[in-house]
Symmetry: C2
Subunit: 357 residues, 2 copies
C-alpha cells in the first residue's frame, strides 16, 4: 500500500491522541516517525507505532508526560522525560539545547526517563535551520557484545551529527555503532540468506553466519567486527554513547536498558530511569562567522563528492545524501507500507477507534 | 636503551629550549610527548621529537607562538595556535575549555593554525582532575580513502574521550577512526609480513595485503573496512572529526591538511591555517552530582570488566586499561628506546648543542 507522508502523519496523530496524548505531542511524535519513513529508515517509522501503543497499554510509556528540567547551568540541562515517548522528549531536549546555544554558544542536554526516540538524525537536524550543528546520541537495549565478551552489554547506540552548508545540502551522519543494523539480520532471515561474517557471534562468542544468531542467544559485534579490524574501537564508540546518554543523565545503562518491545520485560534492579539521550547544539558563529563556515562546508562537500571513485563502485557520497534522495522520491511518489504493517496498523485502528490507514 | 620518563622529559625540554621555546612551553611539550611513551604509544612520543625540530628548521613550526583567543562566547572559543607545536597549543585550548566549563557548565574550543599534538588521550585526560569529562579530536594529513573513493582525503583523525570514575580508574578512549594505525603497516613491513585484508587498498581501490600499500600510492580504509562491514560509518567518523577540527576553526581540512613530516611539502592553495583540533570539557555536576555519577561509572566499569569473556580470549577491558598497565610498568622499569631512535636523538643533541640522551 502506498500512502502520502501526510496520510501517515494523520494516522499517527490520531493514534497518539486516542491514547491520551495532547495535540502538540501527537504532532511531534507523528513528524518524527514519518521523518524515518521518508528518509528510508522503514524500521523506525510508522512500523514502530504499534510498539509505542503496546508500551503505553502496559503502563511502560506515559502519554501525558510532564517533561521537565531538573537541573541546569547556562550551557547544560538535565531533562526528566517522565517516561514519555522519546520521539517527543528528544525534541523538547533539542529545543532546550538550541535556546542555550543561542544564549551562551552551545547547549547540551542529558535526558533520562525517556524511551525510543526514532531516528537520531531527525533530532540532530532540528539545529540546522538555526545555523547550528546538531548532535544526538541515545542508548538502546543491549544486543552488542564488547570485544572479547560473550555477553550482550551495549545497544546499537547511534550517533547523529548534522552540519549545515550553504548551497550544498547539509552533512547528516546518523549511524549505529555496529557494522549493520539489527533489521538487516531479519532481512537475511526472511530471504533465507546467511549473514556476512563480522556482523554477529554465537552465544559462545564464535564467529557465525547464522541469520538467527541473535535469536539463538548470540550477540551483534561492534563496528570493526573483530579485534584485528578495530572492533575495540566500535566498542569504545558504543560505550561512549551509553555513558553520555545514561550515566551522565541518570538513566539505565549497559544491560539494564529496558527493551522497546512490550513482550520483553525490563531487566530487574534498574540502575536509573528509562533510557537516556544526549543532545547538543552548537552555534556556528560561536566559533567563526556562519557564512564563512558554510562556504567552506560547500567546498568540503564538493571535494569529497567529486573525488575519484573506484571503478565499478558508485560515486562517493556525503553523509545524508542517500536519505535525502529517498526522501525526495517518497515526497513525490508516496511511501510504500509492507502488507504486514498495514494489517498491524489497521488492527491498531480498531483497538483505538480511529480511522483505518 | 632504557631511560626513565624523567630522563626523556629533560632531554625533550632541553631540545625545545635550544630551539627557542620558553621554559613553560618546553615543559608542556615534554610532558605531552613522554605521556605517549609512558602509555605505550611509542610512535607519538620522543620518537617524534626530531619531526618537530625539523619542521621548526623549515619555519613550518613556531617555537615562540602567541597562542591567542580570536573569538569567544561564554561556552566557546576560537584559538589561533600561531603555528606552535600542537603539544602546547592543545593544552592551552583545554585550559580554556576547563575555565569555560567552570563558568557555564561546558567549554568547547576550536583550534586553527596548530600542528601535531601527540596523543589525543593526553589532552582529554587533563579534564579528569576537575571532575570533568574531556573530549579531544584532531585532523591529520590525508591517508584514508572515503568509502568508494580511490583518493586519500581524510587523516586517521582520532577521537579521545576521558570520563572520571570514583574508585575505578577513568574510562579513556583514544582511537583513530581507521581499523589500524599507520604505524602497524610499517611494523608488518619491517617483519616482512602481509597486512590483513581490510586495512588498506591499492591506488586503484582494490583490496590488498601489501604492507607497502600506502607507499605504492594506495590508501588506508576507514573503520569498518568495507561497505558491508560499515566502512561508510568509519568514513562518517573521520569526516566528523575533520569538520569539527578544521572547518569550524578555519584550519586546513581534507586533502589540504599539511603533513607532519618535513620531507613532504604542504599541499598548495591552503584553505585555512595549519591543522585543527576540537577540544571540549564538560563539568559532571552540570548534569548530575559528581559523586552519584562516579559511583555509577564504577558500576559501569565493573559490570563490563567482569562480563563473561570468550573462551581462549583475554578478559574484557575498559578503554584505557591497556595504556594504564603499560604506564605503571614503564614508570617502574623505565622506557625502552629503539636504537634507531637513540641514534637520531643523539644526532639531534649535536645539532642543538644539548646533552646526549
Amino acid at each position: 500500500m502506498i500512502k502520502s507522508a501526510q496520510h501517515l502523519d494523520t494516522f499517527i496523530q490520531n493514534a497518539f491522541i486516542a491514547a491520551g496524548a495532547n495535540k502538540q505531542h501527537a504532532a511531534m511524535a507523528a513528524e518524527a516517525l514519518v521523518a524515518a519513513d521518508l528518509r528510508g529508515v522503514d524500521s523506525h517509522g510508522i512500523a514502530r507505532l504499534g510498539g509505542y501503543i503496546r508500551l503505553w497499554q502496559q503502563a511502560r510509556l506515559n502519554m501525558r508526560p510532564n517533561i521537565r528540567v531538573e537541573h541546569e547551568t547556562p550551557s547544560t540541562a538535565l531533562v526528566n522525560g517522565d517516561l514519555g515517548a522519546g520521539l517527543i522528549v528528544a525534541q523538547k531536549a533539542m529545543d532546550i539545547a538550541i535556546d542555550k546555544a543561542n544564549n551562551v554558544g552551545t547547549g547540551w542536554v542529558g535526558v533520562k526517563n525517556s524511551n525510543h526516540f526514532g531516528i537520531a538524525g531527525y533530532h540532530a537536524m532540528k539545529a540546522l535551520k538555526h545555523d547550528m550543528i546538531g548532535i544526538c546520541m541515545t542508548n538502546t537495549s543491549a544486543l552488542v557484545a564488547p570485544t572479547f565478551s560473550s555477553e550482550r552489554l551495549l545497544g546499537t547506540n547511534p550517533i547523529a551529527v548534522a552540519i549545515p552548508a550553504d548551497k550544498e545540502p547539509p552533512f547528516v551522519m546518523d549511524m549505529a555503532t555496529t557494522p549493520a543494523a539489527n533489521g538487516k539480520l531479519e532481512v537475511c532471515e526472511r530471504q533465507n540468506k546467511d549473514i556476512p561474517e563480522g556482523w554477529a557471534q554465537t552465544k559462545n562468542g564464535d564467529p557465525t553466519t547464522d541469520n538467527r544468531a541473535l535469536k539463538n542467544g548470540g550477540a551483534m559485534l561492534p563496528l570493526g567486527s573483530d579485534r584485528e579490524h578495530g572492533s575495540h574501537k566500535g566498542y569504545c564508540l558504543g560505550a561512549w554513547v551509553d555513558i553520555f546518554s545514561a550515566v551522565l543523565s541518570g538513566a539505565n545503562y549497559g544491560p539494564w536498558v529496558p527493551p522497546f518491545v512490550s513482550f520483553l520485560t525490563p531487566p530487574p534492579n534498574p540502575v536509573g530511569d528509562g533510557i537516556g539521550h544526549f543532545i547538543g547544539a552548537m552555534r556556528i558563529d560561536a566559533f567563526r562567522p556562519a557564512n564563512e563556515f558554510k562556504t567552506h562546508m560547500d567546498n568540503w562537500i564538493k571535494t569529497f563528492r567529486q573525488s575519484q571513485h573506484i571503478k565499478a563502485q558508485p560515486t562517493v557520497q556525503i553523509p545524508g545524501d542517500q536519505e535525502r534522495i529517498i526522501e525526495n522520491e517518497r515526497l513525490a511518489n508516496g511511501i510504500s507500507i509492507h502488507p504486514t504493517i498495514v494489517n498491524e496498523l489497521n488492527e491498531l485502528s480498531r483497538i483505538l477507534h480511529i480511522q483505518q490507514l
